[in-house]
Symmetry: C2
Subunit: 332 residues, 2 copies
């Protein structure tokens, strides 16, 4: 295992699905129950002193602001589908977000910037404990936690690592990897979860199964697969740096030049250049920091770009605003 895990890992995440025991699953068609879930969650997390959590009620928000939360991975695309009842409690440091009235009553999400999934899991359990004080969760002594969709029943846990795997992608290894990790109960998804594309060569490695395994087993399995992928990606990077240095540098530096100078760019093209930008930063071929690069991943998406144009009153189309903000960051 190489030391520079951060060169491949973008973030880690643990998510717990929970439902109040006294309410039927799924609140999409039950606005009164949905309201009650929001009230209970707020009661649990607002302790009367400084508010650490902010409540975001989707119905009260502009579409762009909702989408910005998706881009920050603080809420899911599925919650947008339930926007008439959906809400989220988001901790100020954005490490914890509690989605309310998504598929389940509660989805507790704990984000970390590195590899430490056990720490993320612990933060999620602490939040779960606070939420459970107001009202208990639907639990079966044989199955474990019960959920709206049976694929989440048991632990209700999804542990995932967001990995940047440009070399494995370029060398067409991802098909094989997908098949191999499936045997370990682990699955690879695109940047916005199930069914989404692997834009920017980003993959979410997460557990497929939630039932019949302990939380620790799940965290361990995802971590083990993540470590292996990091090693494989690292080995390919080193090989490329020795054997195809000019071509590799050329690809990376061209993307950097384009990001620094382009005037208009759509999201899909941005993600391609972003991948090269991150790879070049990790390989120390560029003057950028991983921190800046990973921040760009969020703020150069469509909703954030629209908000940037609005903030700067530039009236720029989204693809132009994206380039404005990218240039601002890269030249900072």
């Amino acid at each position: 295992m190489t030391e520079n895990v951060g060169n491949v890992i973008v973030s880690g995440r643990v998510r717990l699905a929970r439902n109040y025991f006294d309410l039927p699953f799924s609140n999409a068609e039950r606005p009164e129950n949905a309201k009650l879930c929001v009230q209970r969650a707020c009661e649990a997390m607002h302790n009367g002193t400084d508010d650490v959590y902010t409540l975001h009620v989707l119905n009260d928000m502009a579409k762009t602001n909702r989408m910005a939360l998706v881009e920050q991975h603080l809420i899911s695309r599925d919650l947008l589908q339930n926007s008439s009842v959906g809400a989220a409690l988001i901790r100020k440091d954005q490490q914890i977000s509690i989605m309310i009235n998504e598929e389940d009553h509660l989805r507790i999400q704990s984000l970390i910037a590195d590899f430490d999934l056990p720490a993320a899991a612990n933060a999620a359990y602490e939040t779960e404990a606070l939420l459970g004080k107001v009202c208990g969760f639907s639990f079966d002594s044989q199955l474990g936690y019960l959920t709206a969709c049976p694929t989440n029943t048991g632990t209700g846990m999804r542990a995932s690592l967001m990995l940047h795997l440009p070399m494995l992608t370029r060398f067409k290894q991802m098909g094989n990897i997908n098949q191999s990790v499936a045997k370990l109960g682990v699955t690879m998804r695109g940047i916005y979860g199930e069914g989404s594309e692997a834009l920017g060569d980003l993959y979410q490695v997460s557990n497929q199964v939630t039932l019949g395994r302990t939380e620790d087993d799940i965290v361990e399995a995802v971590t083990a697969v993540g470590k292996q992928l990091i090693d494989m990606e690292g080995a390919l990077r080193e090989r490329c740096l020795t054997q195809q240095q000019n071509e590799l540098k050329d690809t990376i530096l061209r993307s950097y030049g384009i990001l620094k100078y382009a005037v208009t760019m759509d999201e899909k093209e941005f993600m391609q250049h972003w991948s090269n930008l991150r790879l070049g930063t990790a390989l120390e071929l560029l003057p950028t920091s991983l921190c800046t690069v990973d921040e760009l991943l969020t703020i150069a998406q469509n909703a954030h770009s629209k908000l940037y144009a609005a903030d700067h009153e530039s009236g720029a189309p989204v693809n132009v605003a994206r380039c404005d903000l990218i240039r601002e960051r890269l030249n900072a």
Copy 2:
């Protein structure tokens, strides 16, 4: 006519074809005559004081050095074909070059950086007068100067303007223009003359016919067509700047970014970006000067890039050396 003629014009050139009256045309198969032509030309141009002209004997030169003279437009590709007998006398300021043993015994070429073809013609006549003092030229009182190929008979003159016409090219106007100017006895060719591609959106506008027209008529016709093309190109540029500003800027700045950062690039791709670089410089969208840009046109070609790699002992492949020298100039 806009004031910034230099935004479109890259160079002007007048070329005179001459043959010594006492020798048969074409020296490719007559090494003794070829040698005599070189001797006569040297005698005419070396006046005993400081040598203003340098003799380049192709047979004594490395292939790359010969090719570099082609890239500087100081000798023609046709002279390379005759490299066993070919030579060139080149004035130190590179404004005058005399090719010896190309298709004709002598090809006098006078280069200018601007629009002033009459001045270029005068400089060519002065050179011709000096050359003619040693031995007279093949001349017919009815036809004019006689040449190896009948298409050059008469004045033996080709007057040409090298124009950069990116907008006319992009808006697919060049086909129509070719047809129209043909009616005026004017022809459009690529950067390396007859049959060559219009790389970099560069076109040589020159007279088709050398017979039955005076030298002044030829210069006037080429100048008139050149002025009209400059106006047409200028109008399209202005329209684009108003109506498609973001797209135009994007194209230009991306090329600039790529030129500043690419690690390897072939000649053909370079010419595409060069065209955008020149357009952006002319439109004052880039910090570069037309002088630097036009210099790049020569020094970033294959032979010059190879010489650059050799000078810097970098051992870099030609496509990498090209990028090295481009970066050096653009960051200067």
